[in-house]
Amino acid sequence: MTSPREGLPLVIVGGDGMDAILTERWMADGHLPNLARISSEGGYGRLHTTSPAESPVAWSTFATGLNPGRHGIFGFLHRDPRTYLPRVSMVTLRDGEAEGHREGTPFWDFVGAEGFRVALLRVPLTFPPEPVNGVVVSGLGMPDLLMSWGTSSLYTTEPGKRREHRVQVEWCDASIATSVCGPGGSAISLHLTRAPRNDTLTIALQGTHLTLRPREWSSWTPLVFIRGSQEWHGICRFYLLSLEPHLRLYLSPVHQHPLRPLYPFTYPSSLAHTLVDAMGLFPTLGWAEDVTGLNAGHLDEDGFLEQAYYMLDEQEKVTFWALENESPDLLISVTEVTDRIAHVFMGRDRGDERSGAVLECYQRFDAFVGRVVTAVGTGATVIVLSDHGFAPMHHVVHVNSWLRDSGYLVLHESENRSPHKGPFWPDVDWRRTRAYALGLSHIYVNLRGRERLGCVEPGGEYTRLCREIAARLSQLRDPESGESVVGRVLLRDQIYSGPCIDRSGDLVVAFRRGYRTSEQTAVGGVPTQVVVPNRRRAWSADHCSVDPDEVPGVLFCNRPLNFAEAGLIDIAPTVLDLLGVSVPKGLEGRSLVP
């Protein structure tokens, strides 16, 4: 079967978190010539994101053309009403089995059913990969070898606070004997030796010897962790931050080895072998730009940026491999680099050498898009889009603390406080608590019959409480500036519909630009204050829990579309329409094809 474009592919290039306001400014200034060319050939418009503007939610709506009430993903986290504990929304990992939680049929399944070949390259939430008529390399969701979304380590002789994954080491003459911790309590011996002139470090582990100069990255290094009869195969990279005055050696998260992964991450699974043959060892972790390592001080900004741009290069390699070898009718290639670099640098106003980091990232992305456009030829349809935009994050809001101060969340009296101090919900008296916040955007009512210790009656009491909280929280002001903090508080029935709606919170909070739900709120923390400055070292901008209208994404196409009022939910029917595939009933968006 040939595509409606005479065999030329429809290509979607995604730049996660690419912000409409920045893109428009830099396109007008001439910094993004390839995007400007696409815009002049077809058009450009802001793309409405989802509520909340969180990537798992947004990319699920992109894939299915459904609202969260029907695809079931409402954020990174949701709560278990039986335990009040946070649960991961995208995927469950158990003993080598990965179960994705997104409901609904992605549009590429309808495309494939018509005989068109598809290539999905690191599209978020395609882990675990499902069979398609084509190939899949999974994106966001794939864990590292420690079953986390990225756990790095720092080996250092610099005195500092003891904490997990900061490995304090000491020179013994010119060498250090230490270890790399692996899964299941396993470990690998690691020997470090400095050269007599102290200008290089030799890293020895499992027969591999690497020599690095300061500010140099290693290549991918295979590792095999063994405990009893179990083996875990991974790959890692080292980055030598410094040798003097202190050794500081970064060890990346240990990615699952592409040839021996614990969880298949490609479809077909043999694709991983093909790609290694073509490209060499490559990263498999879904969140490979190590923002967490940067925040923990394991990595510096130079190293972080090199790692991020390496990921963009890898994305280009796999994209061109697929174009040349798979002849896809539909190719979707998503890079996360645009999101990661914006998180770190967009909200900073230091006037230093990093002030242009986000612009440089957008320019590199623009150049990547330009090379893709050249490769696919002038007759092909090219769409460039993002799932949401960005806003500076100068304050965070402890939503549970506001609920406490407002009388909705109740703590035990000090004499009755439990001696058991877990990380979640310290001292919350569930029998008297009427509402609680968890995740980045949701407030839940402690509803009788649904929550294990629910105390709010369904019906009128529930509805009155939701409306009262929405009205009062909307009035919250920054105690320092007097600014209004909250844009909107929406009842779930106002924005969602469908069989999965019970996975949602009862209220969805949307803050004004500059404010975001705190990390502590996300896991049930109840700190003292309500609105506090953002103290993170390397996380200066965000989009989660920001009013979706204030963080729109972008949509470019080299063919005319109805760009006005376009939303992520419209992409699925639009792509089907462009490919001449009939749009199935039940999709909620509209085709943007004129």
């Binding site: 986290l77 990992l93 864990p143 979304w149 997990e164 967490t292 925040n295 998180h343």
Partner: protein, 68 residues
């Protein structure tokens, strides 16, 4: 030497129900089955917590936790 075990209380009716359920399963006692179930639940919760704290939007570096 302190014992490796401790005692927890569960309702007698539930214990009896478990006793009936394990017939033919290879579990030698309700206690053995309950310990198995709790271990599975703990593994599942720990796996989730590992993922949760590695979400960059959620996890805090320890220094910042201490400041709070």
């Amino acid at each position: 030497m302190p014992s490796k075990y401790t005692t927890i209380s569960i309702p007698k009716a539930l214990y009896s129900k478990v006793d009936g359920l394990i017939e033919g399963t290879g579990f030698r006692s309700p206690t053995e089955y309950i310990v198995y179930l709790v271990r599975q639940a703990v593994i599942a919760i720990e796996a989730d917590q590992r993922l949760i704290y590695s979400i960059p939007y959620v996890g805090l570096p320890p220094d910042e936790e201490e400041e709070e």
